[in-house]
């Protein structure tokens, strides 16, 4: 009987180290953030006042919040689609049957966007996209544009520029994850598809995607959650501007916390990010458990 109980405890032992680390270090901060959102003047005052849901009411009445939410949706969906699209295509390409040395070189070169810290990425793109930068110079030389475009300063272009930068920066993560996933697909499936007369796209849709599904869902979920609150890249590239045209929830949160020193309102915004992310996650878990049974 004791043996049996011990054996039933097995999975908990395996989980213990991970949950212990996450639990000790993050459960208090997570709780604190939620608590802060119910108070006024936290951090800056020793005795903050409890205000209940007032911060939430204020935030929901703030048009700045809603426009940030809208921008976040655009940025997140655009980025995740970009990451998935470019990441998948490149994962397929570098997984193709080419010379192994060439494959190593291609794979390594294609993760380059990932290995530089966000400050450098942001500053470098500012140089590239500057009105006198090399991108405008190239576009003018080949006659695509007549006047230099202010990629990061024109409200109509800034979000698109940001999406390009975000895609550039984020696809290697997807590529590397999928590259690993692709290895678990038995080659027989492709052979069978070949015999059935499938072309490249058929094979992609009917073999690769279904087989990769567990990896795709997990990775896409995390990418979604991270992009949803992606901060350094946006903040360091456009700072939410021009105006507030690229202001997303994470930059709004930062602005509230460290520009305005309104930690309560920042926490409130953060909790809404938590809530929305939790919905994505629930959907993922429901889908996962449905697939399992």
């Amino acid at each position: 009987m004791i043996l049996k109980l011990l054996r039933q405890a097995t999975p908990y032992w395996f989980l213990l180290p991970g949950l212990f680390i996450l639990g000790t270090l993050l459960s208090v901060p997570l709780y604190k953030v939620i608590e802060y959102s119910l108070y006024d003047n936290v951090i800056i005052e020793p005795d903050p006042t409890f205000v209940g849901l007032q911060n939430y009411a204020d935030m929901l009445g703030d048009s700045g919040y809603w426009s940030a939410l809208f921008n976040t949706a655009v940025f997140t969906i655009g980025s995740v689609v970009g990451h998935l699209l470019v990441g998948t295509i490149l994962a397929m390409l570098v997984n193709a049957d080419i010379h192994p040395k060439a494959r190593t070189v291609f794979r390594s070169l294609l993760i380059l966007p990932w290995i530089f810290t966000a400050v450098v990425v942001a500053l470098n793109w500012q140089l590239l996209l500057n009105p006198f930068g090399v991108v405008n110079y190239a576009l003018q030389s080949i006659g695509l544009v007549s006047e230099p475009l202010d990629w990061l300063g024109d409200p109509d272009l800034a979000m698109w520029s940001l999406l390009i930068i975000s895609t550039w920066r984020g696809y290697p993560f997807i590529m590397v994850s999928f590259l690993s996933g692709l290895q678990s697909i038995p080659s027989e499936l492709y052979e069978a598809a070949d015999i059935d007369g499938a072309n490249f796209f058929h094979k992609f849709w009917h073999v690769t995607v279904p087989q990769l599904k567990p990896v795709i869902y997990g990775v896409a979920l995390l990418d979604l959650i991270w992009t949803f609150q992606l901060f350094p890249l946006v903040w360091l590239t456009t700072g939410g501007g021009p105006g507030r045209s690229t202001e997303v929830l994470s930059t709004l949160t930062y602005r509230l916390a460290f520009v305005d020193f309104e930690f309560s309102r920042a926490s409130t915004a953060a909790v809404t990010i938590l809530g929305i992310s939790a919905i994505f996650t629930m959907l993922y878990l429901i889908n996962e458990s449905r697939n399992r049974t």
Partner: protein, 295 residues
Amino acid sequence: MSGQISRVVVSPKKPWLREATRVRITRVSLYLALILAVVVITFPVLWMLSVSFKPTTDTFSLPPQLIPENFQLDGYIKVLQNETFRTFIINSYLIGLAVTFLSLIIGTLAAFAFSRYRFFGDQAAKLFVIATQMVPTITLLIPFFGVIVWLRLYDTHLGLIVTYLTFGLPYAIIMMNAYLNTIPKDFDEAAIIDGCSPFRVLFSVLLPMATPGLISTAVYTFLLSWNEFLFALALTRSTEMRTVPVGISMLVGEFGLKWDEMMAFSVIGSVPVLLLFMFVQRYVVSGLSAGGVKG
């Protein structure tokens, strides 16, 4: 026989190219696509390299120079001669490798539990793991900082290691869980019959098959700690404890930016990462490559 089965008629169309030619064309177009992708994608990196090799004045010259006219190594010399920068690079690698190693072990253990066992609270545990990623780190910074100080880990390498562990673990768990799920349970059972403890099943039998998953997790966790700036700055105060991103940010001053040094520093710091990746990616090959099971 009652009904008539309609036959799929495959028209014996004559292939317009010989098979060998077709294969060659596919291969060439594959290479062309890859080269095109690499050129487009690495262009910004080339520009960084270019900036690192020229005086800052030329960075802003018109027309832009991709190939430096006044080629110089000043940035590199300054960075290499700077003892502090070397400390930053060593710290970054130490912390990155420690985080990678620990995430792989701890993350894989948890992933194994999620992948191979149904137990009370498994969905809740998974939700918690992912939930830790849902709050913007900026807002977590202050309370997290408090916890680190309380644990007496402020201004230590260990403090940064556990910090990045908390950021990296969820991906490690999710990725390894998904990867382990692709390995048939027959292997576990065979190993159990062979006398493996669950621990042994995981480490001797499943992990060798999961190398690709391990590598993408390793790459992710390493780069996470390699690139992180916010906590690296907040949780350390001594120069000896700091990492490359903090060092780079120091070059962004109140009154200007040391472009050549910054780019040189980024390049120097990143070259070993690239070599490391080149080395490990050879193992991103099919772990299940035929033979383990008959599908």
